[in-house]
Symmetry: C2
Subunit: 489 residues, 2 copies
């Protein structure tokens, strides 16, 4: 056997391959930045492990404000959903003890099981279980007052997978460009980078409540085109992550008009559509505005089971709706998704329950409303508490949190801190966040991970810690911040 092998092993053959090292892997991955689960979070995980082994720190617990992962920090799941998933996981449970469940949960579980032959243990069709696609289309139709077609819906493992696959579909040439907001959720910049495209920032205006200035989008288009790039799409996140702000209707109209005129796809990241806190505010989708304007932009609209009052992050449920794309393009997305068979079916079931929750008269309705309102009211309280407290700190400016799950507060950075950070080879806000973790046990993400105007410094904190812990977050941040600022005076 070895003789055969050796017959071909000439030196000329050997020279062509070398072991895999950091230098010959996909360099687009290597050079992509992804801060949300970056340095600070990795250090937090280390501290957590060390604490469990008995090591002492200047705090007795970590307070996680880094990621929108509500159930990890005590948010209770919506009972109706969990009853449904309990039954779809092991249908016998409802045969043996139907009295344990609300009848509408049993009914829904039966429908979902019947809709995918084999239930949650079987692959669904590529785009998802037919009933779920129909329910999603009905939800969008009702929400917007304009029809959605199930054939344009694709269920994905979280919105992240949908966004990634759509970017993969759109980016053809190295000169293909996506406009992304600054600040942005870094899924966009990282994925575009990994897929070998380009991005061009447009800036949200902090002085104007992180609103959008259409002139700035025009400027970005012009700037990208001046570099020879083809602007294929714009990512628009509403309500905003990390800004915690909602676009005005005028903002949305501006984007639709520009994109219609310039043939730019709107990637409408609307995963926070249920998270709106300012009294009187109501979510308006990009699709609704576009339809009302009578425009026919191409649009991809994303939703997720991870956010809202559901917070079912671990399920990885999501959908994308394609609007105004030709059939053959849709078929190519279908093929791309086929390669991984389908998204996880429990995540699809979760999406179904989320966009078609109990209605007045249903057995679960009252409990569902109570749980839903409880979570949303509490989020409002926490949003207010955190932003008010932060605003009292010297050198911190924090806008009200009107939507999503975050405050993106601004630090007036002392020049000495900037100098010290330079020495450490870090952005100054990254140094701030690392010190905040090491000295006070609060986990936040530096603004440099989301992007910010040159010379400004921010920190993103979620509003998610439970109400009693928010006081602790505020107290620890307060103490830390004063000491830290004094250190660099």
């Amino acid at each position: 056997m070895l003789r055969i092998v050796n017959r071909f092993s000439l030196p000329t053959l050997r020279s062509f391959s070398s072991r895999i090292t950091i230098d010959n892997i996909n360099q687009h991955i290597r050079t992509a930045d992804y801060a949300v689960r970056g340095e600070v979070v990795i250090r937090a995980n280390e501290i957590d492990a060390e604490m469990k082994k008995g090591k002492k720190f200047p705090f007795d617990s970590l307070l996680y404000c880094n990621v929108g992962n509500p159930q990890a920090i005590c948010q209770k799941p919506i009972t109706f959903l969990r009853e449904v998933l309990c039954i779809t996981s092991w249908p016998e449970v409802a045969e043996k003890h139907p009295e344990m469940f609300h009848p509408d949960a049993i009914q829904r579980a039966k429908e979902l099981l019947a809709a995918n032959p084999g239930g949650s243990g079987a692959y669904s069709q590529t785009a998802g279980v037919g009933k779920v696609l129909e329910d999603v289309a009905a939800y969008i139709t009702k929400r917007d007052g304009f029809p959605a077609d199930p054939k344009n819906i694709f269920l994905t493992n979280g919105a992240s997978q949908g966004i990634q696959d759509c970017l993969k579909l759109l980016i053809d040439k190295p000169t293909d460009c996506i406009l992304i907001p600054i600040p942005q959720y870094p899924l966009y910049s990282a994925s575009i980078h990994v897929f070998g495209g380009q991005y061009e920032p447009y800036y949200l205006n902090e002085k104007n409540d992180w609103a959008l200035d259409p002139a700035d989008i025009e400027k970005s288009i012009k700037s990208a085109r001046a570099k020879g790039l083809t602007v294929k799409a714009i990512a628009a996140v509403n309500p905003g992550n990390p800004t915690g702000k909602c676009f005005t209707r005028e903002n949305i109209e501006d984007i639709c008009k520009i994109c219609a005129r310039e043939n730019i796809v709107i990637m409408a990241d609307e995963v926070y559509q249920e998270n709106i806190y300012r009294p009187g505010d109501k979510f308006i989708s990009f699709k609704k505005v576009m339809c009302e304007l009578g425009l026919n932009c191409q649009m991809m609209s994303f939703h997720s089971t991870s956010k809202g009052y559901w917070g079912e992050c671990g399920r990885r449920g999501g959908y994308v709706e394609l609007v105004n794309f030709p059939d053959d393009v849709r078929a190519e997305l279908y093929k791309l998704l086929s390669i991984c068979c389908c998204s996880n079916v429990d995540g699809q079931y979760t999406m179904d329950v989320m966009i078609n929750p109990p209605k007045p008269g249903d057995a679960s309705y009252e409990l569902f409303q109570k749980e839903k309102n409880g979570i949303l009211e509490s989020l409002k309280v926490r949003a207010k508490k955190l932003s008010t407290a932060l605003n009292k700190l010297d050198g911190v400016s924090c806008l009200s949190v009107d939507g999503a799950l975050y405050t993106y507060f601004r630090l007036t950075m002392p020049p000495k801190a900037i100098e010290e950070a330079k020495k450490q080879g870090r952005a100054a806000d990254a140094m701030y966040c690392m010190d905040l973790l090491n000295e006070a046990g609060v986990v936040c993400v530096p603004g440099s991970g989301f992007g910010q105007e040159e010379g400004t410094y921010h920190v993103r904190s979620t509003i998610l810690p439970p109400e009693n812990e928010i006081d602790q977050v505020v107290e620890r941040m307060n103490n830390f911040h004063k000491k830290w600022m004094a250190r660099y005076q």
Copy 2:
């Protein structure tokens, strides 16, 4: 507002973007082939929908032999797993009625819930829930007799996602090349194509029970290098899809030796490691063989919850183990996976149960063994039944099914059929499968989707229909085949 917009809308701006059509999407996606969910399956879905609306066909039901999706065609899930998932979905159920569950299921559910703060509704850490990573590492260690480290394990949404992300990691330049077997599972060719790399086939030898000839791998390496390609990895699927055959230990040794010498990463697709039917045969992993040979190849080994006797396809659970990669490369895979947060947690829990099932003495052990053996025994029976029947057909040659879930039988194609297929613009085996569907209601996948030696024609059929349906499959194939062959004499 419109004035501002118009200020920039010069004709020179306008010319740069056009609407998204099939011609300006990612052309790598457009030109990728993916037959497993291709033309035949799409037509089957149409027929299914038409039948439901009352349309008549020459058969009263579709028989699905196209995809390894056992629960969709009546395989019962393993009870222990479903009890665990029932409890993790809604823990109250076990508090109210603990007597409904086996105590070890309650215990496992508690451990899994505790291991991910917030349970299955919360994001896990990027690579997965710590306990699951440890359990997977313990499983591999025990299976191979060589240590596995949890830090090298990543949990993914099915093996497919893991394979895709690893390919994405490895492919840097358009000249980077992956060796793939012919016949192959088209996940490989499609994904490599989508990520802009190249693949070079090596041929499995049908005359020698689809075994591997190391000289053929050497030839492929040489051929790729002669084209200026860098061979970075080899995909090796064992037990084989679609071949239904297991590599000999010698085959595995050959691959390890060549890859060690030539610095080629082994992508060991071992998702069928539980599906071995030939008496006396036992699964041997690539890692075990490599370690026993004292080699230090770089290796990525994949596993899935979808196959084996579990058949939990809809959960999208999977893992990859990285072997002999430097820390900084591993960190880049971690970053890539971070962008989508984590794989679905129920899929992770399923993986935990699968690789750490009930042990002798556990309350569920007896039932578990009974279910496991029942499924595996029945698969053996069906494999035998199908291959025996197919072999009796004129112009069909079908090897025994020793592993995995498929038979890949060969058709001696009448020249007139080849001619007719050419007219239809189809491969002759694709025409055969389409006719088999339209005339007999049996859904199979043509060999042209998996690759085959020039001038040979195959069909892949799963062995999954329940025992009583296998008879029907055989009968319908038999009748169809005779008529079809007569048509082209």
